[in-house]
Symmetry: C2
Subunit: 360 residues, 2 copies
């Protein structure tokens, strides 16, 4: 078991990583509010882990709500179901919400916790690799709007994140690979040494070797925690974490949420960001190929679905939060392991990248 503390002053919190944590009552001790507990989960995760979590929390007054699974349900309507449950159950301001599931559950549970009675305690129990390395760190919470992803949300830090690596053994292959996309992102954006480790160990991750997974989660969380601690409210440096996301969000918007997994869209987004960086001559053809190869070896898509046009794509990118004062800002690569956020690039390179991938 390893513990990492995300340093945010009075909002600091631990991320605990290891096998068997979910079923251990000690994992939750000291992190719960004084009142009742509502576990928020979905219909895929509940059959696997809800009973186990409830047993671990059996000392407390604990109930649960099971939501439909998937990004398509990460919206105000599903959020309303949580509010209804909390109010019908008369949960007080001293309650604790526990997110049991992937990033979608974490984001919705976190936003419910941020806004129920203007803020209650919440704990994350992420059961996907993506949630363990990404959405459980940083305090971003929210839901989608038909016109854009994560457009409605708040910053709200969890009291603790319990990342049980054992839950990854039941994860579908596609979701494991989507999680690995975010892991690769940390290497690409700012940790060349980790990128090298990934090139040497990607097969172990795909084979779900415990030690490799735990190391990848720890190193990813360390990378993310360092960046978030420096820039909690996303003024500057934190935006680097969006490597692959502006392209990725556009893909999700165009396809409709739920077609591709978020991590798959981010993986494809990183391919496009690397390609554009190469066209700008910021990275070499060789480095671009290294990035592409690693993403390919992770079993992630490296081509867009047929039927997208570069005009639609550009339009969808305009709805992204990274558009500041009408100017498109992108996270691009200065080198492998060194990303930068900038609005200062030749639009021709963007057009060429979009044309290339939309025509493939």
């Amino acid at each position: 078991m390893q513990t990492l503390t995300v340093e945010l002053g009075e909002r600091s919190y631990p991320i605990v990583i290891g096998p068997g944590l979910l079923t251990d009552p000690q994992s939750y001790a000291g992190h719960l509010g004084s009142g009742r507990i509502l576990i928020i989960t979905n219909d895929q995760v509940a059959p696997l882990y809800l009973d186990k979590l409830q047993s671990a929390l059996s000392e407390t007054d604990c109930s649960s709500i099971i939501l439909p699974d998937g990004e398509a349900h990460k919206n105000l309507e599903t959020l309303s179901l949580i509010y209804d449950r909390l109010l019908e159950g008369r949960f007080g301001r001293d309650c604790t919400l526990v997110a049991l599931g992937g990033g979608v559950i974490g984001d919705m549970c976190g936003f419910a916790a941020a806004t129920y009675q203007r803020g209650v305690v919440f704990i994350q129990v992420p059961t996907t690799l993506l949630a363990q390395v990404d959405s459980s760190v940083g305090g971003k919470t929210g839901v989608n709007h038909p016109l854009g992803k994560n457009m409605i949300g708040a910053f709200h830090q969890p009291r603790a994140v319990i990342a049980d690596t054992g839950t990854l053994q039941t994860l579908p292959d596609q979701e494991l690979r989507a999680g690995i996309a975010e892991v690769i992102k940390y290497g690409l954006l700012g940790d060349a040494e980790f990128l090298l480790w990934l090139e040497n160990n990607i097969d172990k991750l795909l084979a779900r070797e415990d030690q490799a997974l735990a190391y990848a989660i720890l190193r990813s969380c360390q990378n993310k925690a360092r960046i978030v601690a420096e820039d909690e409210r996303e003024g500057g440096k934190r935006a680097l974490l969006n490597l692959g996301h502006t392209f990725g969000h556009a893909i999700e918007t165009l396809l409709g949420y739920g077609q591709w997994l978020h991590g798959e869209a981010v993986g494809m987004g990183m391919v496009m960001a690397a390609d554009m960086s190469r066209r700008l001559d910021w990275i070499s053809q060789q480095d671009c190929a290294r990035a592409l190869t690693l993403i390919e070896r992770a079993g992630l898509p490296t081509r867009l679905p047929a039927g997208l046009t570069s005009d639609d794509f550009l339009d969808a990118m305009g709805h992204d939060k990274k558009v500041l004062a009408g100017k498109l800002r992108l996270v691009l690569l200065r080198a492998l392991g060194d990303a930068t956020i900038t609005a200062d690039f030749d639009m021709a390179a963007l057009h060429a990248t979009l044309e290339h991938y939309c025509r493939q």
Copy 2:
């Protein structure tokens, strides 16, 4: 013109009070985000002030959304209209939301600002006395749920509050009186000197004398700002501001939002809190009568509508946020000008008060 600063570290903001501020471009200078502006107002206020505000902001890219008026529309559905407008208009994270109207508009606009893209700038231009002395100070934002008032919300501080006293000349009598209820609240809960001033000047307030109104707003804001600065996130002392509110919210819940104005319910709630404090022998019969008389002189209701039962009332109070760990906490009076929040009271006094007012 007077300026009061609410001291909250990096979230400090000015409340500017005086006639003619709404139409003066200078009022907004330095407080706007770098992006576009959306004015959020309602169908009662828009015909009176929207053109004027837009003229004052004419240097900037400014548009507006006009919502239906009233507490009954302070809900997730109306909030969605704001999100839709922002996303359809492609408002960026650098936008500014301006609340033009009363407390309902301020609360909804503030919550939209707290949650749109995880937080954007907002400015309050309150046009009711209630909003000028209450909801524009303290950063509370939110919407109602069918099962409880303000149950969904966030703390989000405005960048500035522009309280134009001139707008009170067009305020309906009933709304003026509802605002005076909150003004009286500040005297009752912690400012005996101000309470005396109110007893001597209540007729001037009702006659809308400029100087009296400006003084009452300033003193109320000073009282509230002092308490909020000590307790931004409502851990303890801030709860004193809920004098009359637990009873009042129950009234609003039982009648359905929109039957009584919020200030009227609070006025009635203060009558009940004073009555209960007298039954507990915490204040004298004389002091209780003083409070009742002032509230009566302000033209506020001092009786409940027919048909409420004390059981329903108690049940509705159970949904209030002030219920901590299942125990009902109330703000009661130790003396005129000295309120306390406590769960340590004889329930018989509460029952007697409810029986008395429900049977009247």
